[in-house]
């Protein structure tokens, strides 16, 4: 017992990245030895540096804020779809649930409390939906999730509480985020708040990646029947990840509501969920960084497509088709594949053991 505790203490103090134990018998599987934390810190620093330069430029920073907000939703989609194997066409709907709950509560209860309630509501609803559809597989679940999403949008559009039906569900004048009295009035300030939230989300996600949950969900997604005869309930890990992913979707909705100040049901429809899928797949569904890369790429793309606005839908869908059929590993997949080659890791065949 003594020996295990020693190596364990060493491991859990692994907050300081890069301390690699030799390949001794007790070493945990490779996923635990990846330098996740380092990558998160590096990413945040890079974005902070780029962002700091533009906080005055209103236009640039709002695109940045949008990318940071959407990244939270696509990281959530990574957990629900890529790890959990669940067709989360409901992701945009959960963004809507988060956005409206916090927008409606925040004038009376303040930002932090209402955001908390929004996440809890989303977690309960998403767990309920996953439980309700636990026997529905693949396409059936997708249709069920879409039906749920359509119901949510109808509710937002017609419920008096969400300024329906006369107001068409459009809410205005939503206060910017404020934490413990500290306000983030201007888009430049909101940028730092969003970056901090994304940082927390990424760190929490890395904790999930470095845990049995990831191993179980990948196994369940591959061959569910075999995991069951090995003692793993295929539904439990998938439902957990769907709930976590949808709750992150709600958090993105909260951030969107309080950074833009206005929200409307149209921005939470099924089409938006499909765009989130596009971002995740384009970025590279193989890792949570795919979600972030896809979100940044596709929030910048419309800026380039500005002159040919009406082509946007065609370009988006052809892009999604190309990604699925031509290069399933997306941007991050390609990068890690190149990194693999660069390191000349001839011994390792095919995909790297686990993406960073």
């Amino acid at each position: 017992m003594r020996r295990v505790l020693a190596s364990e203490r060493d491991q859990s103090a692994g907050a300081k990245p890069g301390h690699r134990r030799g390949k001794s018998a007790g070493a945990l599987p490779p996923v635990y030895r990846r330098r996740h934390y380092l990558t998160v810190v590096a990413f945040l620093v890079v974005i902070a540096l780029i962002g700091a330069g533009n906080t005055e430029n209103m236009y640039q920073i709002s695109v940045f804020n949008n990318a940071l907000t959407i990244s939270v939703a696509t990281v959530g989609l990574y957990f629900a779809y890529q790890l959990g194997g669940m067709f989360a066409f409901s992701q945009a709907a959960f963004m809507g649930i988060g956005a409206y709950t916090s927008a409606i509560l925040s004038p009376d209860y303040g930002f932090v409390f209402s955001a908390g309630v929004a996440l809890i509501v989303a977690a309960v609803l998403s767990y309920g939906l996953a439980f309700l559809l636990r026997n529905a597989k693949h396409m059936y679940f997708a249709i069920g999730a879409m039906a749920f999403a359509e119901i949510v949008v109808l509710v937002l559009r017609n419920w008096e509480v969400t300024a329906g039906p006369t107001g068409g569900g459009n809410l205005y004048g939503i206060a910017p985020p404020s934490v413990a009295g500290y306000e983030f009035p201007l888009p430049g300030d909101i940028f730092w708040f969003l970056l901090a939230v994304l940082g927390v989300v990424l760190l929490l996600s890395v904790l999930l990646e470095r845990s049995p949950l990831r191993r179980h969900s990948l196994a369940v997604k591959a061959i569910p029947q075999v995991t069951e005869s090995n003692g793993i309930d295929p539904r439990r890990s998938a439902m957990t990840l769907f709930t976590y992913g949808s709750t992150l979707g709600a958090l993105a909705g909260v951030l969107q509501a309080h950074s833009l100040g206005t929200i409307a049901p149209e921005s939470f429809e099924v089409g938006v969920s499909i765009n989130l899928f596009l971002m995740l797949l384009l970025g590279g569904a193989g890792s949570l960084w795919g979600g972030v890369a896809g979100a940044f790429f596709l929030t910048w793309l419309p800026e380039f497509l500005r002159p040919v606005k009406e082509y946007e839908t065609v370009v988006y869908s052809l892009l999604l088709l190309a990604v699925i059929v031509l290069f399933p590993n997306g941007i991050v997949g390609a990068i890690s594949w190149l990194a693999e080659k660069a390191r000349g890791w001839t011994g390792r065949k095919g995909k790297a053991a686990n993406h960073a």
């Binding site: 067709f87 693949h138 997708a142 249709i143 069920g144 039906a147 109808l154 089409g271 082509y311 065609v314």
Partner: protein, 291 residues
């Protein structure tokens, strides 16, 4: 009473349209194993081709309808040539996602061709109505119901009585064993792709006068069509038709007796509950393990 009859007929009309879209999806799945979520784009395309033919090209309405159906059949053949090989071997969920993306590509094309502004497609019967049991029922609704009934009768006859129908059912059950009997799978897949696209186009044409013409007009009907297919267990046509009518009536009666704003919630709720509690469908059927 007359309110009930009016709602009944408008429910049946929607049910008929969902049936046409749903049968297109089910038949294509049985023959090729591909779940075609691009159907909603084809519904829109069919409606817009009829709109173009009847307004810009000035053709008579009936001719525009037929032209649209023929063009949609050719689009189906093109789709088969383009997507059948790559999609054939891929897992169900990535097929669903890529066909869904394909559907939005069609929507994009429509937006490029016209624009996103809602339009409307005239019906063969204009706005004439006929009174049944005291309720003014649009002739177009009766036309839709009759056309759908004919289509369902023809399809179930073909499926149960003809060689080709049996071959498609054999393919759906055990693809390799069916090929060992000499069934020409490539020819069948072209025919079913053309048939499914034509039916989607027809659904678009019939839906035009009932709902506004928008590039994404096919999305909700396709969702309900998938719901109907699931209720019918992706199997015998009877189950699929019943599922479609159930959803159509749920929408109209919900809208009529509870609230028009909320009317689409009822069919979606019915769908959600059925997928949750009876994923194999209300009417059994042969939902093969692959789904």
């Amino acid at each position: 009473m007359s309110n009930f009859v009016a709602l009944l007929f408008s429910g049946l009309t929607l049910g008929a349209i969902y049936t046409l879209v749903s049968l297109g999806i089910v038949i294509l799945y049985k023959a090729t194993g591909i779940v075609n979520a691009a159907q909603f784009g084809l519904v829109g395309l069919g409606a817009y081709i009829a709109f173009w033919a009847s307004t810009d090209a000035g053709m008579p309405l009936l001719v525009s309808y037929l032209l649209s159906i023929v063009v949609m059949a050719l689009v189906g053949v093109g789709l088969e040539r383009l997507t059948y090989a790559p999609l054939r071997t891929r897992p169900v969920d990535s097929v669903f996602l890529s066909t869904l993306a394909g559907g939005f590509a069609f929507v994009g094309l429509i937006v490029l061709w016209y624009d996103a502004e809602p339009r409307s497609l005239r019906s063969l019967f204009g706005l004439d109505t006929v009174t049944i049991l005291g309720a003014p029922v649009p002739k177009h609704s009766l036309f839709v119901i009759v056309v759908c009934a004919i289509a369902v009768a023809a399809l179930s006859w073909a499926f149960n009585r003809t060689d080709m129908g049996r071959q498609v059912r054999a393919l759906a059950f055990d693809r390799d064993a069916a090929r060992l009997q000499g069934i020409a799978v490539n020819r069948l897949s072209i025919i079913t792709f053309a048939l499914a696209s034509a039916m989607a186009g027809l659904a678009g044409i019939l839906l035009g006068p009932v709902a506004a013409l928008t590039p994404e007009m096919g999305l909700s009907p396709m969702l309900f069509a998938f719901g109907a297919a699931i209720i019918g267990g992706f199997g015998r046509f009877g189950g699929v038709v019943a599922g479609a009518v159930l959803l159509g009536l749920a929408e109209q009666f919900g809208g009529g007796y509870i609230s028009t704003n909320w009317r689409e919630i009822f069919p979606f709720a019915v769908m959600l509950l059925i997928i949750a509690f009876r994923p194999e469908g209300l009417f059994g059927g042969e939902a093969s393990a692959r789904l």
